[in-house]
Symmetry: C2
């Protein structure tokens, strides 16, 4: 277990299995532009969502250890799969600093949003099988019914840029058909890749269903936690995130642009 | 570098990034039923085809080292991506035993098959970008024109069982459209997952194009090599392959059935 002194000037550590967590970086930058961000994406071992709990927990420990080298004041788990299956591992590995999972933040937002207490959740195989969203939502309100559906093809479709392709629409139609008879009013995008497909998902489920993007929820929760602990960075400078990845594949810059809407800055390659 | 004494009774080591290489196991079993097979699938780090050459070469070394513990008489690289980018790493790590790559075997079969000297190749991003199929084919016959196309969604579609789904047909139509004007007569399935989608791919490219499945080609080449070196196993017993994986995700048994057409036997989990 690590122990280090944190100050308001310490960075916020964020990690994900790959590039999807950049949606969280973007949301944090938008409401906390003066915070220093260290992002680690485990691009050498992505994806996590189709792997076993044992492996996901081992990877979560590695990822946290990499961020701890930078003595962060907080860790944000941008990966829904790790949030669902290994948040305790991250907490144990990071010692006494606050740890915020994207799943808890999304669950809280969804529980506050549903008027008829019926929520749908879509995510990876591992996230959906863990039942973690239903548990987190029912911890807040045991009367809410939660219906989950794994959508394994959404990540590769998003990464291929098939965001409104007829094939993607057919697949979305099939994955999301179950929700028709569930009469939900709120749908959680339980994977950081899914906001890329948001418009298509909205069109598929139809109007009247609120879409929850956990990236914004986790950013707001991070701000509250830093405020409570007097750890907000007082600087007025705008900070550029420091990006670490375990692999730099050819398509990385394309993916960066897809998730961040900007050209790729310098990226540091690190061994796991 | 490992050195060990091999005998006809020594096993054949086969590895792949995941489960796709089981198509090679199946082909070997079919023509060499008395050979002992050790198969390693790197299911904890799959896929390789979207990763960088540096990472693929590191993984190839790890995978070979795992197989070398079993003192094999031969190594078969069932992964097209590793065959394309890291066959030299496998050879260096395995010492003096023969190493056969699925890519070389497929290239040889395709070069012998094309009448009009026009071959198409489909594979992962990494395999296609390496240009390794074109090099291997042109080493055999410099007059053959080779056209390659990366089909990144084929692996997730195969693993999801979308083998003749309308969405898969739309995606195949888009990926394979380029070949229409190339007037090829031979198409190499340059990824061990693609045989799962073979019928759909055949229907998409239309009649008159020979489909090359490298699994059968590599099995025949393995038999020839063992014969030349007097290393064929003289046993008449039928051997069950020994399966090693680095992760055992929930869907493993479903994937095993998809690739092997049989129920999953005992599988050993190994750390990388």
């Amino acid at each position: 277990m690590h122990q280090h002194k944190t100050t308001p000037e310490s960075p916020i550590g964020i990690f994900d299995s790959g590039v999807g967590g950049l949606t969280v970086v973007r949301a944090i930058q938008s409401i906390l532009p003066s915070e220093r961000i260290i992002y680690f994406g485990d691009t050498a071992r992505v994806p996590y969502g189709s792997k076993s709990q044992v492996t996901i927990r081992k990877y979560a420990q590695d990822d946290t250890s990499i961020l701890m080298r930078y003595q962060p004041k907080m860790i944000i788990v941008a990966c829904n799969t790790v949030s669902a299956l290994a948040l305790d591992v991250v907490r144990k590995t990071s010692g006494s600093i606050p740890v915020i999972g994207v799943l808890e933040a999304g669950a809280e937002l969804a529980a506050g949003m549903t008027a008829i207490k019926r929520i749908g959740v879509i995510g990876t195989q591992a996230t959906v099988c863990s039942n973690a969203y239903a548990c987190a939502i029912n911890d807040l309100d045991p009367d809410i019914e939660v219906y989950s559906k794994a959508c394994p093809l959404f990540v590769p479709l998003a990464e291929e840029g098939f965001v409104d392709h007829p094939a993607a629409q057919l697949i979305a139609g099939e994955y999301l058909a179950d929700f028709d008879e569930r009469h939900i009013d709120t749908l959680v995008l339980g994977c950081t890749h899914y906001p890329i497909l948001r418009r298509m998902i909205e069109n598929t489920v139809g109007p009247g269903i609120a879409i929850i993007d956990s990236a914004e929820a986790v950013a707001r929760r991070a701000k509250e936690t830093l405020l409570e602990r007097s750890l907000l960075n007082p600087s007025t400078a705008t900070e550029t995130p420091h990006l670490l990845v375990s692999d730099l594949p050819q398509k990385f810059s394309t993916l960066y642009r897809l998730f961040m809407g900007a050209d790729m800055p310098d990226v540091e390659l690190t061994d796991i």
